[in-house]
């Protein structure tokens, strides 16, 4: 009797551990590739200057100028890697950048092996709140200007209502641009072909991000422009996901008829895109990036952001559907 009880207890403990491990999703680490091979490469980084104007009713207008062109050169000797003190960079990034940034971290490990990138991918709204609540973070890459503005003291006070000051002056710039698309599950069971179709009876259930999720805000804008948002709400045809990856999963699992997500997410998940939103429907989807002034490794952070603007990274971004914001 005792033996059976003990075995059951052990099994239960094992189950709980497995559950805990499965449940812990946040905090992804970039995989380490063998740095001991003595790879040599030369990285030259150039400064970038970006001026952006965003249009659209729901977007606030900001003019950004990055000052202080930075140039840094890292040269490595043949067969001898310069040993630097190991540094951890914590990067909070929008969920839609998961695949691309993960790949880039692996690439960065080869040129700067002493820098370890630790990611947290989630909806920009959640990340902004976490930063605000005191989370340790070096770099923030948001899926919309709104969340970055809410942390930037130099932004419009009507957006940064709490007067938060987390953005390191001069480090903010626009990284990539995405498109907001309508995606359907395999075989398109509901036969949705366009945004307009959402106003018809063809649609039973659509998944959107909630309005604290950037893609959710865009979705609501699109539907408002089309004049069908209120009708969908009244008919209870909208189900909300907590971030864009959740919306993507719902579509992929065919739990819903369709969903509004980013082009990059549709690509990564292999989903069919049936319609794309135009600029006049929801404005441009710009992803700003910045170093946070609470960062303890500002130089390494700037170096990483500079790396993101290189052609190598550009290729990675474009391969999943981003376009480079210049």
């Amino acid at each position: 009797m005792m033996k059976r009880r003990r075995a059951a207890a052990v099994m239960m403990a094992a189950m709980m551990t497995a559950g805990a491990l499965a449940g812990c999703q946040s905090g992804q680490k970039a995989a380490d590739t063998g740095a001991g091979s003595g790879a040599q490469s030369q990285a030259v980084q150039e400064s970038t200057e970006a001026v952006q104007e965003s249009a659209g009713a729901a977007q606030s207008q900001t003019v950004q100028e990055s000052t202080g062109a930075e140039q840094s050169q890292a040269v490595q000797e043949n067969g001898e890697a310069v040993q630097k003190e190991s540094v951890e960079l914590i990067v909070f990034a929008a969920a839609s950048m998961t695949e691309t940034l993960t790949e880039i971290a692996q690439m960065y490990k080869e040129i700067r092996p002493e820098v370890e990138i630790i990611y947290t991918f989630d909806s920009s709204g959640t990340l902004k709140t976490q930063i605000q609540e005191g989370a340790d973070c070096d770099i923030f890459i948001s899926a919309a200007q709104k969340q970055m503005n809410q942390l930037d003291i130099s932004a419009d006070p009507s957006v940064n209502t709490e007067g938060l000051d987390f953005v390191l002056e001069g480090s903010r710039f626009n990284l990539v641009e995405n498109k907001v698309v309508l995606a359907v599950p395999d075989n398109n069971p509901a036969g949705i072909t366009s945004y307009e179709d959402l106003g018809t009876d063809k649609l039973n259930l659509i998944c959107l991000g909630n309005d604290d999720v950037p893609v959710g805000a865009y979705s609501i804008e699109i539907l408002t422009t089309l004049g069908i948002l209120e009708q969908l709400e009244n008919d209870s045809k909208i189900t909300y996901g907590s971030n864009v990856k959740e919306v993507t999963t719902q579509v992929k699992e065919a739990s819903v008829d369709c969903g509004i997500i980013y082009a990059t997410d549709a690509f990564s998940a292999g989903l069919t895109v049936v319609d794309e939103a135009e600029e006049d429907q929801c404005g441009q989807v710009i992803y700003p990036a910045a170093v946070l002034n609470i960062s303890k490794h500002q130089e390494e952070a700037r170096d990483f952001l500079d790396y993101l603007t290189t052609d190598d990274c550009g290729a990675v971004f474009e391969s999943v559907g981003f376009s480079i914001a210049r």
Binding site: M1, R4, A7, A8, M11, M12, M15, M16, A18, G19, A20, A22, G23, G125, T126, P185, D186, L205, C207, N210, D211, D212, E233, N234, S236, K237, I238, T239, Y240, G241, S242, Q250, E253, A254, S255, V256
Partner: protein
Amino acid sequence: MDWYPLYNSLRIALISSVIVFFTGIFAAYYIARLNRVVKGILDVILTLPMVLPPTVVGYFLLLLLGAKRPVGMWFQEQFGIKLVMTWYSGIFAAAVVAFPLMYRTARGAFESFDETLAYSGQTLGLSNTYIFWRIRMPACRQGILAGAVLSFARALGEYGATSMLAGYTPGRTATISTTVYQLWRTDNEALAFQWVVVNVMISAVVLLTVNMLEEKNRKERR
């Protein structure tokens, strides 16, 4: 205020509780009679949903009932019914996590039942069904009642598995717990707090009812 989440939560909790009441009691009754090995294994399996994190339970359920998964697809083909993203998906989630509570409480109650009462009934010619409902259950009613209340409370407060199976569709699948979460996310604190108050009031009513019933029970026994 849109009262749908209240209506939906109560509906799901009540239906789940009824399902779990009968399945839990019958499982407890029949499994107690099996041999030790089988009984031990079944015990672990049936108690798992209580120990696993609700999201893990939700994940398993999705693997079964999702629209592209075996059971989900079969239902879609045979009856045209979707098992996820509907209001009744919440019932699957709530019933699975609440079941172990009813099962274990009922097991405990049955095991402390004086079996000679059942034997006595049998030798007097009473049918086993009569003995179960009129002698065993009344004798165990304290434990059974406690189990029923616990499982109702658990079903009412279910969040993790429910949000994965039913999603959050206002007016359709929203429950009090998923509504509060989404209201908080979208900075709707005032409304979120109103729901918190509603939930506390319901829980208080449930607990008061339970206490009253236990008092009545205690008086009757003396």
